[in-house]
Amino acid sequence: MMPLQAPISPDWLALTPAIVLGVFAMVLFLLDSIDPDESNDGLLAGVATVGTASAMVVAGVFLLSGVGAGEGVSVFNGQLVVDGMALFFTFIFTSVAALICLASIEYLAGTDDIAGYYSLVVLATTGMTVMAAANSLATVFVSLELLSLPSYGLVAYLKNDRGSVEAGMKYFLIGALSSAVFAYGISLVYGVTGSLLLPDIASALAGGETLANLGGLLGVGVLMLVGGFAFKTASVPFHFWAPEAYEGAPAPVSAFLSSASKAAGFVIAFRVFTVAFPIETVAGTIDWVLAFQILAVVTMTLGNFAAATQENVKRMLAYSSVGHAGYVLIGLAALTGQGSGEIVLGAGMIHLLVYGFMNTGAFLFVAMAEYWEVGRTFEDYNGLATKAPVACVAMTVFMFSLAGLPIGGGFLSKYYLFAGAVGAGVWWLAGVAAINSALSLFYYSRVVKAMWLEEPNGNLGGIDTRGYPTGLYSAVMIAAVATVLLLPALGVFSDVAFEAANAVLRLGP
């Protein structure tokens, strides 16, 4: 592929992935309104999968052909910017969404309003894609809500299931609280700097005069923004919704929220803090690096410790997802100015990419177990490998890769994160992460042990009677292959990620 010499023209074409997603969401609505009563499960799933997958291909092509190279393409007077980081994250979101759409066919069989489900998934993905490109606090907020509202609906999608509805309600309430905090934070920042555009905020703060006069106000605003991000990324103390929502929601939705939605939270956090509040400028007033260090340590420790005591596999995965948010927070917490910032930030991005596959895969495996009506606890998984060995190999890959063993890409991405932290002089952060990682091996291997070493409990009959769900099974396999391949092939993505991180960091003064 030849790198394009000039940026894409006209500019708005750089938003093609988001446009493709939006169009496909409309197509889903259209199909549903033409034929609302018929159940065209396959057609709807196909359209949604094709839509997300084609957005993924476009993002991948853009990424590799250098559309977002350097400072990227600025759209709508700088409200949106499509750069390497935006495209990288778009790739993560759309690939996870494609897996989810593929995996949902059998899971949703027999439920109402399947078109609604798929259009919500596609719309949420559109929101994420816009979040990745959002370059002003206004677009950040709008796109965040464009993601959040469909998410609430998705969690509560199983209308007749108490757990699903309750989880959706809680998610919505906590979300409303967080959005309020976030919006208030935005208003404070605007009040201090007089702008919503991220680069303009940075230049308003650059002189130091504003900070001297209104530093306290800005500090409160920035911490409130941290709160908003913490909600979306399920970081402590805004994580309370996560275990309940993930457990109650349909398993593919849990996969979607814990992989893609979390990554979306991180992309705006990465961009807002590195572009609008360069740490060199604001360190004296609000040392957000320290704030993220605290959050990282607390989040990963709480997530892993809580995961270790769960009996329910899905809930264990929910807490492990909190723990992984803690690891990725290192991407911001190690931007100490020492060492190489691009490695730290890039490592966070790479971990989210790998996590997108291995965590989605793990949740989809749980979805498959639910489809087989195996049960939810570790004991229920006993002897699963005797009936479904290939799927269990895939699950083993996910578990060990999540723990950071060199069987999948999770090993290298964690290695980059820890190495970045050490390089940035916060070796203690890497140490805490390593201890947590070791602890996580304990509960991940419990799943593996149950599947391979224990005797079946006689609850595996569903595998024979219900058979293999084609879409779900292939999504699990695709995720497993991708996880394994990301070990040798991570080089391709790591270069892109480091370059993108470098471009974002260079925007500072």
Binding site: M169, K170, L173, I174, L177, S178, V181, G215, G216, L217, G219, V220, L223, M224, V226, G227, V236, P237, F238, F240, W241, P243, E244, G284, T285, I286, D287, L290, A291, I294, L302, F305, A306, A308, T309, S340, E342, I343, G346, L412, L439, F442, P488, G491, S494, D495, F498, E499, N502
Partner: protein, 697 residues
């Protein structure tokens, strides 16, 4: 890269072809005629052709380096881990050797394995293919990490092949021993690899187009220190050691892997046991792959070792001692493959002696000739073993000369080469090894004379055990019914023997040093070949390095001059070899030779038991390590470590339960906790950042 690379573009195929044959034999071998043998033969034949093309290309002055894949790397990462191919004079030569022998071993296996109706043949050919592929990839590796990876794969494959007959009792245990002993050495090698990366930031060997290579960086550091300047920035040493001392540590660590693989004292114990594998595999292991990998690595990074006189002396002494030590054990063995096993250890000792004694060309020369004559001897022994229905005891043989003439003459050719009798190939190369060590010993490094002395004494034993083996096997009257009426062998055994028999006799012409000294018109091909390698990877450069850093210079026996010394050395080694052979002829000639080992008295027991090497190593491993050290470690582990871990897991479980209690399921609690958390953060950062003005100041 591809455009200018020309024929080099196909270089990866040299290793990929046998790998494909591995895949084919593994997946479809069952359904193929000859169970996958033809895939292996075609693949190794293809590798051989490509290797020859590479030699031709390199001969026209085009050493080549290419990078295939960057595995870990990027702008901010301190070093790159890559896969690449280095084709220079040394590696292409070795590629030809390895692929030739692998090819012949595949053909021979048709006779040894297929015709004998062995089960599990697809597995055999698959493992053989992977073995060849790993060794070929090891040979053309352009950096030490890649070399290490394939070094390990070679070790794994030899484990699989030695244990091929895993249902018998001997092979699995022999395989395990080979694996563990070499792994012990490789452990040090691995640390050495990490050390090299940490020290130099690169593991490249060098070659055209390579900007930074660790031997060159080491050389620069040593020169800078010698001149009293600051060290180059790219080099970091550790533990406050001077570059010389630290590089010595690194060199020793890598040498651990070398000595394990090349079966140098005291890591030689695995090799005689490895005879439990099928004989063609022994040929491959001894001649071209596993064992050769160790010394090849020394030759590959000779630019590094040449800087370190202590290391060179250690290599020379280990080599000389191993040569002598193994040769003395070879004289009492009763089984034909055992004699050959000890001769392998001994001959690799010579190669080490040559490399350590400053004879880079001599070492590589002996590696080359040995590859051919030792492959020949093993395949010859394999032919005898087929004929004897898998009885390997030489005292049951005798008189096979007339019954299997092709095998006899081929084997005799290999034996004359092994014993070092002029004009067979082994004479020229062994003589050069000894000569180089002698002149450097005389020229200011007297310590090498000790190693030389051991080498020359070993020549006597070599001649003795070689001819004892030939006489017992082929001469005299048949001593058993099997030997009376041996099973005939077919073309697929005879042709490899004939080819190798010829090679073993004549391959010495590639470096006729003494002849060249008298008649200048006779070229020293190998010498010229290796001296014209790429910059920093050629013999001339190594000679400068050994002279500058190790103080090696050529001396001469007083009163004889250079030429005189050359001939005196050749004369002495030939005379000693002839003396050893003559003693064997005297003792074991005649129709019904007697066992003379009784005359050795108590020494015989010691030799039969291989100097109790196995016993003391078992004691080290079992009583000392498992008993004392492991016992202490276990007490520490149970008490301190487990105790600590248990406390930690107690704490984490308790706190986990606490966390579960916080997660009440009531959403208003969550909202309260979130708000509280945010307020705590706000207050803490507010105080720190001084947002509240003078209130808390």
């Amino acid at each position: 890269m591809a455009a200018e690379g020309g024929i080099f573009t196909f270089a990866p195929a040299i290793a990929v072809l046998p790998f494909v044959s591995f895949l084919i034999a593994l997946s479809a071998g069952r359904y193929m005629p000859k169970k996958g043998a033809f895939a292996g033969i075609a693949a190794t034949g293809g590798s051989l052709l490509l290797s020859l093309l590479m030699v031709a290309q390199v001969a026209s002055g085009h050493a080549h380096h290419m990078e295939l894949y960057t595995w870990v790397g990027g702008e901010g990462v301190p070093f790159e881990l890559t896969f690449g191919i280095l084709l220079d004079q040394l590696s292409t030569l070795m590629l030809v050797i390895v692929s030739t022998i692998a090819f012949l071993v595949h053909v021979f296996s048709l006779g040894y394995m297929n015709d004998e109706g062995e089960p599990g043949l697809p597995r055999y050919y698959a493992e053989l293919g992977l073995f060849t592929a790993s060794m070929l990839a090891f040979v053309f590796s352009d950096n030490i990490l890649m070399a290490f990876m394939f070094f390990e794969l070679v070790g794994l494959c030899s484990y699989l092949l030695i244990g091929f007959w895993f249902r018998r009792s001997g092979p699995p245990s022999a395989a395990k021993k080979a694996f563990l002993v070499t792994r012990f050495g490789d452990y040090f090698f691995l640390i050495g690899v990490v050390g090299i990366f940490a020290t130099f930031g690169t593991g490249m060997f060098g070659g055209p187009g390579v900007e930074e290579s660790f031997p060159v960086l080491a050389e620069e550091a040593m020169s800078a220190m010698a001149a009293g300047e600051a060290m180059p920035e790219a080099v970091t040493t550790f533990f406050g050691l001077s570059p010389g001392a630290w590089f010595g540590v690194l060199g020793l660590l890598v040498l651990g892997g070398v000595m394990g693989k090349s079966a140098q004292f005291p890591f030689h114990t695995w090799l005689p046991d490895a005879m439990e594998g099928p004989t063609p595999v022994s040929a491959l292991i001894h001649a071209a792959t596993m064992v050769a990998a160790g010394v090849y690595l020394v030759a590959r990074m000779y630019g590094f070792y040449a800087l370190l006189p202590t290391l060179l002396a250690i290599i020379a002494f280990v080599g000389g001692f191993t040569a002598l030590f193994a040769a003395t054990m070879g004289v009492v063995k009763d089984e034909i493959k055992q004699v050959l096993a000890y001769s392998t250890i001994s001959q690799y000792g010579y190669i080490m002696l040559g490399l350590g004694g400053g004879g880079y060309v001599a070492g590589v020369f002996h590696l080359t000739t040995h590859a051919f004559f030792k492959a020949l001897l093993f395949l010859g022994a394999g032919s005898v073993i087929i004929a004897m229905h898998h009885n390997e005891d030489m005292w049951e043989m005798g008189g096979l000369k007339d019954r299997m003439p092709v095998t006899y003459y081929a084997f005799l050719s290999g034996s004359l080469a092994l014993a070092g009798i002029v004009p067979f190939s082994g004479f020229w190369s062994k003589d050069e090894v000894l000569y180089e060590t002698l002149v450097h010993g005389l020229g200011g490094s007297p310590i090498l004379l000790g190693a030389y002395l051991m080498g020359i004494v070993a020549v006597f034993f070599t001649g003795f055990y070689t001819f004892r083996m030939v006489l017992l096997t082929f001469h005299g009257d048949p001593r058993s019914d099997l030997a009376e009426d041996p099973e005939p062998v077919r073309w697929n055994v005879k042709i490899p023997l004939a080819i190798l028999g010829t090679l073993a006799a004549v391959v010495g012409v590639i470096n006729l040093v003494p002849v060249h000294a008298v008649v200048g018109a006779v070229p020293e091909f190998l010498h010229d070949w290796l001296f014209h390698g790429p910059e920093t990877l050629n013999g001339a450069h190594y000679e400068e390095l050994t002279e500058q850093f190790a103080g090696y210079s050529a001396g001469a026996i007083p009163g004889l001059g250079g030429l005189g010394t050359l001939f005196a050395s050749a004369g002495v080694s030939l005379a000693v070899a002839l003396a050893g052979s003559a003693l064997a002829l005297g003792l074991y000639r005649g129709p019904d030779p007697a066992e003379h080992t009784e005359k050795l008295g108590a020494l015989k027991t010691v030799l039969y038991n291989n100097y109790y090497q196995d016993e003391y190593q078992v004691w080290l491993a079992q009583d000392l390590t498992e008993g004392t050290v492991a016992g202490t470690a276990k007490r520490f582990d149970d008490g301190v470590v487990d105790g600590l871990v248990n406390r930690v897991s107690d704490v984490s479980l308790v706190s986990g339960y606490f966390l579960r209690r916080v997660q009440t399921g009531i959403v208003s609690n969550y909202a309260a906790l979130i708000t509280l958390g945010l307020v705590v953060l706000l207050v803490a950062f507010g105080i720190m950042g001084g947002w509240f003005g003078g209130v808390f100041a």
